[in-house]
């Protein structure tokens, strides 16, 4: 086991941000900007009376995330590693982002644990052995795949020569475009003298999307530089939306994002690539696993 565990607060929060709490907090801040209802010249009702209840609601919604992060930090700082066995994979069928899974495990003592919800990531198959980090104070266990600071090594896979990815890869990620366009809009609005209340949300969007891009880029670099190689099979193609670059410029057929699967149950999707680089359904593609987040990238996306 490794001792090089990161224990930052923000990476653990951004692993699964409390989006609802953040949204409610933003609404609370907006509501607090409404005119003062107790002023002498106040006219009628004001949304400002909602600010405090909304702030309380945001705090309540963020509480599970705060407790999770505190427990994960304690686990990373002074917890101990346990080998546990996957007893099942819970399938969550409700919700827009599918498929969503949750690993259930039991350790040798019989203590049960469950992972956070996994979307488009590596899911250890039932019966396999995983490593979990136990926080002794709350007796909660965390799967290494839910701990961005933990340093697992994928048991499968073979070492492969390192590749240096090109920065242009980032242009095929939607988050980069969201960040760029939000930054452009924010700059335009700011120069046009728009009130700050309308510009700040855009800057928040730039920060969040930029964070996502940065995280993905760092995962990609790690995966291609020292990640293990696994082989996947293409199980499907997903065409890009109509607004994609290839469609607008009408330079030939559209490309696709490839859905892949491995024998041991990894599954995922590559970036959208042009038609001449698309691998046919049923063919195998080489993949690299980021040892820290478990995100798996196609070697060809470099």
């Amino acid at each position: 086991m490794t001792t090089r565990n990161a224990d930052g607060f923000l990476p653990l929060v951004m692993m699964r941000p409390p989006w609802l709490a953040i949204g409610v907090a933003i609404v609370a801040v907006l509501a607090s900007q409404a005119p003062d209802p107790t002023a002498v010249d106040a006219t009628g009702q004001s949304l400002r009376i909602l600010a405090l209840p909304l702030a309380a609601l945001a705090a309540a919604l963020a509480l599970p995330t705060v407790l999770r992060v505190l427990s994960q930090r304690r686990a990373l700082q002074g917890g101990h590693w346990i080998k546990a066995k996957v007893t099942g994979v819970e399938v969550l069928r409700s919700g827009a982002m599918l498929p969503r899974h949750r690993i259930l495990w039991t350790d040798p003592d019989g203590r049960a644990g469950r992972s956070l919800v996994i979307t488009k990531r590596w899911v250890p198959p039932k019966g396999s052995t995983i490593r979990v980090l136990q926080d002794d104070r709350s007796a909660r266990q965390w799967w290494e795949g839910d701990l961005p600071g933990a340093l697992p090594a994928p048991d499968e896979g073979t070492p492969a020569p390192s590749i240096l990815p090109s920065m242009l890869v980032m242009m095929s990620w939607p988050s980069s475009w969201i960040a760029l366009f939000a930054a452009a809009c924010a700059a335009l609005l700011a120069f046009a003298g728009t009130p700050g209340l309308l510009v700040w949300p855009l800057i928040v969007i730039v920060a969040l999307a930029g964070n996502a891009v940065l995280r993905q880029w760092r995962a990609l670099v790690r995966a291609l530089r020292f990640g293990k190689r696994i082989n996947g099979k293409v199980t499907g193609h997903f065409a890009a939306p109509v607004s994609s670059v290839g469609r607008i410029s009408s330079r030939g057929p559209r490309g696709a994002a490839m859905r892949w699967e491995t024998k041991s149950g990894h599954f995922g999707e590559t970036d959208y690539v042009a038609h001449d680089r698309v691998v046919a359904i049923g063919q195998s593609i080489p993949l690299r696993v980021d040892p820290i987040t478990g995100i798996t990238f196609w070697e060809g996306s470099a």
Binding site: H80, E90, R93, T106, G110, Q134
Partner: protein
């Protein structure tokens, strides 16, 4: 394997209230209190429904809640083996709901559910249960 021995899960009253569903009764009673003593003009039937519903729900869940509370607070820790899932007529979102049955090292039997079958450990899995010192009922640590 664990190296440092077993760590008992600390007592958390909120978890007990959540998993025993006593929070529903408390929420109903709190709403009834607010509507009665803070808000004005609440019709009598609303007060009767909320107070009555909260009281009935609380009375129905009181026994289990107290048992779970004692078990989580000071109950004996035991290892148990899942003996199987028993069928119920309940369904949720297309998933059949089953009841988890176990038998612990002392021989006491216990159950949890109805719950979605894919969220429950399979038959033969070893789990940890806490025993209520007064009634002897056992409760799965995961739901305590």
């Amino acid at each position: 394997m664990t190296g440092r021995g077993f760590v008992r899960r600390p007592f958390n009253p909120l978890r007990v209230l959540w998993f025993s569903r006593m929070w529903i009764a408390l929420a109903l009673l709190a709403l009834a209190s607010v509507l009665t003593f803070v808000a004005e003009g609440t019709p009598l039937y609303a007060k009767v429904i909320l107070f009555g519903g909260g009281t009935i729900m609380g009375a129905l869940r009181a026994r289990d809640t107290v048992s779970m509370w004692r078990a989580a607070r000071s109950g004996e820790v035991r290892q148990a083996v899942v003996t199987g899932h028993s069928e119920t007529n309940w369904r949720s979102d297309g998933f059949p709901l089953r009841r988890l049955n176990w038998q612990d090292a002392v021989g006491a039997k216990g159950h949890w559910g109805p719950a979605r079958a894919d969220t429950l450990p399979r038959a033969g899995t070893r789990i940890i249960v806490y025993a209520d010192p007064v009634s002897g009922r056992t409760w799965w640590e995961d739901k305590l």
